[in-house]
Symmetry: C2
Subunit: 297 residues, 2 copies
């Protein structure tokens, strides 16, 4: 299987698992039809499913079968999707297009989009707290604590707040790095950490995956910023140049195109090197790092 | 101590614990200042703290000391507060006044209010997943699963979605009851259930508290709807008559004022009766039921 095939197969399995959770038949009570439908619209509309892929492949390093990592992976994707739905709201970035389709507040309405985000965030914790996700409640607890920290006020939501504050201001490179570490880095780092939690990895293995996740998160964001300048709107399925239009500072605007590209290659190399201790077992994660920094959408 | 004094003392302890969590010094990373400040504005601005009080007093039935129930109580209040912040948004109820002060999107801005809600919801799960909340990860897991179900798409968020769908329509009494059971009932019922989880109560004790919580939730909402018609805006700290203005159906508009009041007294009696098996130990919860159905704000 090529890497692309493996990524696509992983995305298909996550999509299946998400569809199962979002059918509304797993819990003791049924959700209202309209909200459930809008949550499915938001979560099942495609996407690379990179974060769940990282979680599944990180867990695989420690012998966890894909089947046993998919619930946690689906929960993680719920959090990622919620953040996109809220980010697209008129009161935030006011975007009409996402993954090539109307955003939730356009396809439904603003109030529904707020509730879709709230519902997906809450569902993520419901999934992680369910015994089927892992038989050991201590493992489930670690997964939950890590996800809450990565996505909350000192993680992703905090990064979005810094992003709001940054509009119209000129940030220094270190401020941009901090903002991005929270806004996109934290959840990508968590994806790798969650695999290690599921696999009951040793402290040293966890530290290595943490470093990989941190570097990969930086590379991901830098690649995104480069694509925002150089990318093809049709391939991305969203508006290109939106950060530049909004006056948002990125490392590309501060460092310049060529230095930013050089930094991206350096990050890719460091991320791959962080996996040294795992030998060949980590080849898929290495290819993921190459994919992340060289993708065209 | 009178009941009012006990309720106020409980609110003060919850406020203290919330302030501690919201200081941003408990976790491994610091949240951005502006978001943290807005979250404190939202969560520390007063309120009766009824849900945390119910949790603490339900736990006390099983010998759990207040000190050991306050973390879970603070988490629950975070969820309640998040729901108010999002409910007040321009895209939802568009309210400018809450607990006698400007709502978060007025005092800050809309984007910040969205993130404040997201941050508080996530913080609730972070608190519940922290070992300090309870030493047994299985207990923490049960608390998390229960909260996610009570507040998510098949609970509170689902109720808010039904509420949106109901605008401009005439609901039947049973539809209103279902909507309210989700929108406000689920979290009040959870408050009581969480006390039983913390106290490792027996199945029969849990069932009794579940029934109490369900009936109390119904009484709470009915009392709220009656106050919306007959209440004093200054005492309530929010706009009176807003449900009538918005064309929202309530049991008061469907049943009429007197029958609604009679139903409220019936619910109060049934809630109190559900506590029979606990004897005098449950006197505070009985007084809470009286307080909920007879409050003036």
């Amino acid at each position: 299987m090529t890497f692309d095939e493996r990524l696509r197969a992983g995305a298909a399995r996550v999509q299946e698992r998400l569809a199962d959770f979002l059918s509304g038949t797993r819990g003791p009570a049924s959700p209202p039809d309209r909200l459930a439908e809008a949550m499915r619209y938001a979560a099942l509309g495609g996407g690379k499913r990179l974060r769940p892929f990282l979680l599944v492949e990180s867990a695989a390093l420690f012998g966890v079968r894909q089947e046993n990592a998919l619930d946690a992976a689906a929960a993680l994707e719920c959090v990622h999707t919620y953040s996109l739905v809220h980010d697209d709201l008129p009161g935030m970035d006011d975007d009409a297009l996402r993954r090539g389709r109307e955003t939730v507040h356009i396809a439904y309405d603003e109030a529904t989009a707020i509730l879709v985000g709230d519902g997906l965030l809450t569902l993520a914790f419901e999934i992680l707290a369910t015994p089927e996700t892992h038989s050991d409640p201590a493992v489930r607890g670690e997964l939950i604590l890590g996800l809450a920290r990565a996505s909350g006020w000192a993680g992703m939501a905090g990064g979005q707040s810094l992003d709001l504050e940054a509009e119209g201001r000129t940030l220094r490179a270190d401020e941009i790095r901090h903002l991005q570490a929270l806004k996109t880095g934290a959840l990508i780092q968590y994806a790798c950490a969650a695999g290690a939690i599921l696999g009951r990895a040793s402290g040293q293995d966890r530290a290595a995956l943490d470093a990989f996740g941190r570097l990969l998160g930086q590379a991901f964001q830098l690649a995104d910023d480069l694509l925002d300048v150089t990318g093809d709107e049709a391939k991305m399925g969203k508006r290109a140049g939106k950060d530049g239009d909004a006056g948002k500072a990125t490392l590309v605007s501060v460092l310049g195109l060529e230095p930013a590209h050089a930094e991206l290659l350096r990050l890719e190399g460091e991320a791959i090197a962080a996996l040294d201790r795992f030998g060949e077992r980590a080849d898929v994660l290495r290819e993921t790092a190459r994919f992340v920094s060289r993708r065209e959408h």
